[in-house]
């Protein structure tokens, strides 16, 4: 037997292979997976979609569904094999010794049960406690996860609290029985950035407060850096690199890990001088994995005979380092110093004349209130102030980013620009033509062509019923670019070349394309009518990290060459910092701050911008960041706070004036504008949020 004094790992995965068995045959989801979690340790598993990271979590829970099975290997929990356990044994472990936090808090809670009952179940069914005791413990735990007014939460149904609060409830539920191991599967992906920051803060405190070991699954390297001690990078079902966070982040060894880091916009990257380097090619489907190294076909260091051996590649330790392993045959041979892959870059295009001007634009929606009270009072209509007093300039070849969280009005703003909604007040001027009150159908074809859009969701940006080519052709014909069928066809093929897709894609249906490819088609469609302004609404947020880099690069590249103005709407400040020349920060329908990228990322900050910058997880160990966690929830735009919209959550609130008066706009000569009561001179003294290490 093992030495009893040695510390037993909480969890150990030994050579685990997991497969799904479908009609199409066996699909190996996870291959040769090893993982050791020591008590109190937190381990991050990172990888792109389809890499098998969630499958690992479900296998640990032994909850694989009908057709999934651990084919070989062992998953040991405190030294006992989970696969060998009976249903009863499993049940006694689930929720009490291993518990899990899920990606979508709303869907993970039972909609028709009060939160109190859902929480109390955990101690009631795992320990011999009374109702009163279970209730008290639930209340205490809700307080421990920093939920205000636990009694009210206990009596609420899940839909009555916000997304951030729901996730805190799920975390509380997971911690109620003091588990030895906590699995977190993308716990903040569905949340807004500032809400995410609060949850991440909470997760960081868990292990110190409760001594729980954690496995944190995420696609975001920055979040792993903030929360974990160790990291395992997965690619196509395999762990390709594992080690301490410091070791992997500072000296990554596997070419895929390198590629991943090179394709995320870290501070210091820039579209002109230090561009992102996308990983070429595509993630192979599990059925089509190459022989040997699965990353081989996408790797610049691939060597036939070595990397494609039939036996496959196994994990090998890095010499002179502790618990740092790499699944690469050649990692010692690679000379990273002399490796300088070429990214998509080009000269900064010259910024020209003003193309688009928005002046004091307002958009109010009417909301009919059908409650009895409203009926009696005769006040049936409420206004949602989706956009208030929007002022904005965009010049030729310039990229202007609009940043904000959900409900900030950025999507409404795009709709007004596109003519899908009419502005309530104010003007939208494009090339000298007033458009704010002209719905798209009354605009001339040439005007419509001047202003086009790239949409967020690659899965419904294209009509699934029509071929890719016919959808692009329709735009060309609609905008009178060409009318001769032969020429239209030619133009379609040219556009496919423009977005670097093979020409035979013209005859494909959208479902035969990957997410990134669909988004490329979306870009081709937007540029088909030679637009002056393209509005891109979160064009890459639904894509995988390595694909994001390629699509972002492509978009900025085309925009630069065609001297198009790009309005880039996003919630992700890292991407925004990378692509944009100027940034507009919105909160609850108002512009809180706008200025050049440098102005936004350096003091003076608007307190909201400051919090937003602090909330962005950064995957760079040399970057120091101040942590600012906002209190409270995002207010609803139906019922915005009085005075300054940000006053309910502002850490720098100066007093009653914030609650009663809307601040006046403070503007510098360069156009940097801040909507705040605190004088610019005072804001100037605020410390940098993100500091790059001098070294």
């Amino acid at each position: 037997m093992a030495n009893t004094t040695a510390v037993i790992p909480v969890l150990e995965c030994k050579n685990v292979n997991i497969s799904y068995y479908t009609r199409a045959g066996e699909i190996p989801a996870v291959v040769d997976f090893n993982l050791t979690v020591m008590p109190g340790e937190s381990i991050g598993i990172v990888g792109e979609s389809g890499c098998g990271k969630s499958t690992v979590a479900l296998a640990i829970m032994n909850y694989m569904g009908k057709n999934g099975r651990v084919k070989s290997g062992q998953i040991l929990f405190n030294g006992r094999d989970l696969q060998a356990m009976s249903e009863d044994e499993l049940r006694s472990i689930r929720g009490s010794q291993i518990s899990m936090v899920y990606q979508e808090p709303m869907a993970s809670l039972n909609p028709s049960m009060k939160i109190g009952e859902q929480l109390m179940e955990v101690p009631l069914y795992h320990e011999d406690v009374t109702q009163a005791e279970a209730k008290q413990r639930s209340l205490d735990m809700l307080a421990a996860v920093k939920l205000p007014d636990p009694q009210r939460i206990m009596d609420a149904y899940p839909h009555q609290i916000s997304g951030g609060q729901q996730q805190r409830v799920v975390i509380a539920m997971a911690l109620l029985s003091k588990p030895a191991l906590l699995l977190l599967d993308e716990p903040t992906t569905a949340l807004d950035v500032t809400v995410e920051a609060g949850i991440v803060q909470l997760i960081k405190e868990i292990s110190s407060q409760f001594g729980t070991s954690m496995i944190y699954i995420s696609h975001n390297l920055g979040l792993i850096l903030e929360t974990c001690d160790r990291i395992t990078v997965m690619y196509s079902g395999e762990a390709v690199e594992t080690g301490s966070v410091q070791a992997v982040f500072n000296e990554m060894r596997h070419p895929y890990t390198r590629g991943l880091f090179a394709s995320i916009p870290l501070p210091g990257t820039n579209k002109n001088s230090r561009p992102l380097v996308p990983i070429r090619g595509q993630l192979p489907l599990p059925q089509n994995r190459p022989q040997g190294c699965y990353f081989g076909p996408r790797c610049d260091f691939f060597q036939a005979g070595c990397c494609d051996q039939e036996a496959g590649i196994s994990m090998r330790p890095v010499l002179h380092e502790v618990r740092h392993e790499v699944r690469c045959e050649r990692f010692e041979a690679i000379d990273w110093q002399s490796y300088h892959p070429e990214g998509l870059s080009g000269e900064q295009a010259e910024i020209g004349q003003v193309v688009l001007e928005v002046k004091h634009m307002k958009k109010y929606y009417e909301l009919s209130d059908s409650s009895l009270m409203a009926f009696i009072k005769g006040k049936k209509v409420q206004y949602v102030k989706a956009n208030e007093d929007i002022n904005l300039l965009a010049r030729e070849a310039e990229t202007v980013a609009i940043v904000g969280e959900s409900g900030c009005g950025k999507t409404t703003f795009a709709k007004v620009l596109m003519g899908l909604e009419e502005a309530t007040e104010g003007q939208v001027i494009l090339n000298g033509l007033e458009l704010g009150h002209t719905p798209v159908q009354q605009r001339k074809a040439q005007t419509v062509a001047l202003l086009q859009m790239v949409f967020q969701n690659p899965f419904d940006t294209l009509n699934p019923s029509h071929t890719v080519g016919s959808q692009i052709a329709r735009v060309i014909k609609k905008f009178d670019v060409e009318s001769d069928p032969e020429k239209v066809n030619q133009r379609v093929l040219e556009l496919l070349d423009l977005v670097k897709l093979p020409r035979d894609f013209a005859l494909r249906r959208p479902r035969q394309l990957s997410g990134g490819q669909k988004q490329r088609i979306g870009i081709a469609r937007a540029f088909a009518g030679n637009p002056a302004v393209v509005v891109a609404d979160e064009p890459v947020s639904a894509l995988d990290v390595s694909v994001q880099a390629a699509v972002t690069g492509l978009l900025t590249d085309i925009q630069r060459n065609l001297k198009t103005t790009l309005l880039f709407i996003s919630h992700d400040l890292s991407v925004v910092r990378y692509v944009s020349d100027r940034i507009v920060v919105m909160y609850l329908g108002r512009i809180m701050e706008q200025g050049t990228t440098d102005e936004i990322f350096n003091p003076p900050y608007h307190p909201y911008t400051e919090a937003l910058l602090s909330a962005v997880p950064i995957a760079d160990t040399s970057v120091k960041k101040r942590h600012i966690v906002l209190e409270g929830e995002l207010p609803s735009p139906v019922n915005p706070p009085s005075g300054c919209p940000f006053q309910t959550r502002c850490p720098r609130k100066i007093g009653a004036i914030c609650e009663t008066q809307l601040p006046s706009l403070q503007q510098t000569a360069t156009g940097h504008a801040i909507l705040c009561h605190i004088p610019m001179t005072e804001l100037n003294l605020v410390e940098q949020v993100i500091q790059m290490d001098a070294a």
């Binding site: 899908l420 074809a445 009509n463 329709r474 093979p502």
Partner: protein, 298 residues
Amino acid sequence: MTTQVKLETNEIPQRESGFKRFFKALILMRESPIGMVGLVLILFWVVMAVIAPLLPLYDPNAIMLPFQKIGAAAPDGGTFWLGTDHKGRDILSRIIWGAQKVLVWATFATLVAYIVGMLMGVVAGYLGGWADEAVSFIANVFLSFPFIILCIIIVATLGASGWTIVVAVTFASAPQIMRIVRGLVLDLKTRDYIFAAQTRGESPWYIMLVELLPNARGPLIVDACLRLGYTVVAIATLGFLGLGLPPPDPDWGLMIKEAVPLGAFAGHSMYLPAAALASLILGFNLLADGLREVSLRD
């Protein structure tokens, strides 16, 4: 320029023909045994209906020996394979010709109902506002009639004929189709490709007919299959109530109605048309189930 345009033409694969894709869809059905059984049942009746004029059958309305048992010899030396009814008409012939009648009218009536219902649904769902209110109110008026009662009233007013059945089925089914299409459209119209069409200034009709409707086809094909079944039931039920296709044309519902009182000594003349009817409707229901199963898989 980093984005240079290459102008060589590369091979472009041809799109498969409609027939080939239909054939592929049939092969896909193989994966659902239930759907296969349904398809076989339907095809059996369709083939019977099509080749009815070519089969060596007695005239369905010819009056010969009444109450003949299954397989009894006919006076002209032939055989009454399924016997004869109380008036001495050949049951086999009446069932096969009845299949033709019910299939033709059911298909036609469902088609008309679908055209009306889809137009109503796409208009209500996409345009919304008062157009939705108006169309939905009309639909609600007709939906508040129970199906058969609406049919009875229409037949009682217009008189019994195939065309009346078409009208009745349209009035009864179109509002239901409208509701389904409206629901689908309400979901589909929030998709980005609809916004894309709107932002390039497409007309509402283009968006409704070209962008929206083709994407609703999956659930609608399943529903159409079920609805064909309902329509067959409706036609047979009207026949049973004496409101269907006017006699002496063979009608399954009417055959059952006439045979039941005499079921004590001529059971086969009531069981056989009932079984024929049940098998056809079962076919539609099973095929719909199979289609749903297959469509959910991919």
